[in-house]
């Protein structure tokens, strides 16, 4: 319990620090007191003198803060989705990017925007959700996941097959999405910016549109956290403990796909968050999903906020796609996790 409290406290502090850094760092020169006072002044019946110019206030409230909040939200969603997938598939190397979920969401979101634009922005996450489910389902079936005992294969073959299948499906879906986007836009930079993820156009509208889907998916995942611990024992033992493994898997996959799809719909494709962050959460708080899931949310939000801050400052005034930053950090960590997993198996 003490370890859990320490881990949650550390993650919360990390989140707040990352958010403050994101709010402070940028082209406009904002002071910590100015930022704090501006935020406190928003509370009803609280009136503080911020010392900021109207331009700086607008930059903070309309440009920087929505960007920070969206990064926290998207990072948290990608991380908790990754943790959910890892629990369901008993595999520490999967996330929404590796399972075709993000690519499916991206393609469906693109189709919704290009062909069904009249449905409104709120329908895009719903379309992305269906695409995410379709993507992970195709990856699962293509890897022979319906073969009985597939998940209980202790040789590691099921891991490699699922990853390969997910990557293949993801590449195909991304290619289809790229084709659609290029058909409707001659601006290649815009296409690739979306594919590599971006918070540059973050608005409060995007945040409020994503929030309901985020809330539902996170709530469902947190409710099923302990079931993932039981699932970790293997299907036979989980079922002998009274768990309905099939229903649990379906619910968690659906919730994780909704979380990933919501993130993709508002920010594009951002990789490695869902693999790296749950691994850090496990190192910090232990293997129980009762802690891994909420920790992943906090750490994932902080990580992506920091990545976004780096993306818009390292080559300022130009911006790096955020997916480049997460890949630069995440890919080496992925290799380390892979090597550690193989060493444990050996």
């Amino acid at each position: 319990m003490a370890r859990a409290l320490r881990a949650m406290a550390a993650a919360a502090v990390f989140l707040i620090a990352a958010a403050l850094l994101g709010a402070l760092v940028g082209a406009a020169d904002l002071t910590p007191w100015g930022v704090a006072a501006t935020l406190l002044d928003r509370i009803p019946f609280v009136h503080l003198s911020t010392g900021m110019t109207p331009l700086d206030r607008n930059i903070l409230l309309q440009i920087r803060l929505p960007r920070v909040v969206l990064a926290l939200l998207v990072g948290g969603l990608l991380a908790i989705a990754g943790a959910g997938y890892q629990g369901v598939f008993r595999n520490p190397l999967v996330d929404s990017g590796m399972l075709g979920s993000s690519a499916g969401a991206g393609l469906a979101a693109t189709v919704a925007i290009v062909f069904l634009g009249g449905l409104g922005g709120g329908a895009v996450p719903a379309a992305a959700f269906l695409g995410a489910l379709a993507g992970v389902s195709v990856s699962w079936f293509a890897s022979g996941g319906t073969r009985r005992g597939a998940l209980d294969d202790g040789t590691g073959g099921a891991t490699a097959t699922l990853l390969l299948s997910g990557v293949a499906v993801g590449m195909f879906l991304t290619a289809a999405q790229t084709y659609l986007m290029q058909r409707d836009s001659q601006d290649l930079q815009q296409v690739y910016s979306w594919m590599l993820g971006s918070m540059a156009t973050a608005t409060w509208t995007q945040v409020t549109e994503a929030l309901p889907y985020a809330a539902v998916s996170v709530l469902i995942l947190l409710v099923h956290a302990r079931r993932l611990d039981v699932l970790a024992l293997g299907d036979d033992e989980a079922r002998s403990l009274g768990l309905n493994t099939g229903r649990t898997r379906l619910i968690v996959i659906a919730a994780a796909s909704l979380a990933a799809a919501t993130a993709v719909a508002v920010s594009g494709l951002i990789g490695f968050v869902g693999i790296v962050v749950p691994h850090v959460a496990r190192r910090l708080g232990g293997p129980s999903y009762a802690l891994v899931l909420p920790l992943s949310m906090l750490i994932g939000g902080a990580f992506l906020s920091l990545a976004d801050t780096a993306a818009r400052t390292v080559i300022s005034p130009a911006e790096l796609p955020i997916g480049v930053v997460t890949a630069a950090v995440g890919a080496p960590v992925f290799v380390l996790i892979l090597r550690r997993t193989q060493a444990v198996r050996a």
């Binding site: 302990r226 611990d229 970790a232 002998s240 403990l241 009274g242 768990l243 309905n244 496990r282």
Partner: protein, 292 residues
Amino acid sequence: MSTMTATDMRVRLGGAVPVDGVSLRVESGGWTAVLGPNGAGKSTLLRALAGLLPYQGTVTLDPAPAGRGRRELARVLAYVAQQPTLPPDLSVRAYVLLGRTPYLGYLGNPGRADRAVADAALDRLELTGFAGRRLGTLSGGERQRVALARALAQQPRVLLLDEPTSALDLGHQQQVLELIDRLRRDDGLTVVSTLHDLTAAAQYAERLVLLDRGRVAAAGAPAEVLTAARVREVYHAHVSVRSDTVGRPVLTPVRPTGDATHTDALSTLSDDESRANPCSTRTTGSGPGHGA
């Protein structure tokens, strides 16, 4: 205390029938060991008894579980796989606490009472000092005890144990079997286990069921089941059998005598291997229920 009765059980896996018409009855507080060579259907039978495989026939528990659901069954019957998955980074206490899953609400948060039951199971198996240890740091014997503790935390009336002494050295094998026997006698648990070691099975189990290619070759008291002729017929192995001081058979492997005898044994073995059922693959499903 619970009596388990299985009648005419049949399990089909793909094109094979690894369990073909098996019946057994285990009296309340008794220990029945299921024996047989590799591929005889022992593990498949146990998984079917646990409701983890679809089967034909009936399995009844007396008294019956409170309901027909999987959770109700899990409160009566605990199953330990041959090589249970023990997540290496999980603590012993957290793993044993998972045994309380059938009693937890939808959120699955264990309460004080659940923690007390888990701690009692740890104490029963002399694992209290190991509670904070990570599962990945335990020895083979300690892992088996922890798996038993997890099963005990379910507060079952019936224990189904698949090869509880596999991969253990002689000392740990004996330790685990003594532990199971003590639990059975002290807590009135009904035990059904598969065992490879025929002498150990004869020493600890009250009844033996010997399977051969999915069918019951013999069932009864150890002295009735384990004869040299029957072992030669089912296992294609030569043993000598003597009785210990309480009449339980003790088996000793012997080399066949004479070239002709040795050649006959080898050709018989190769013929029977070619007729043996293929190994079963693990499946999911449920049987018709375990009601009385």
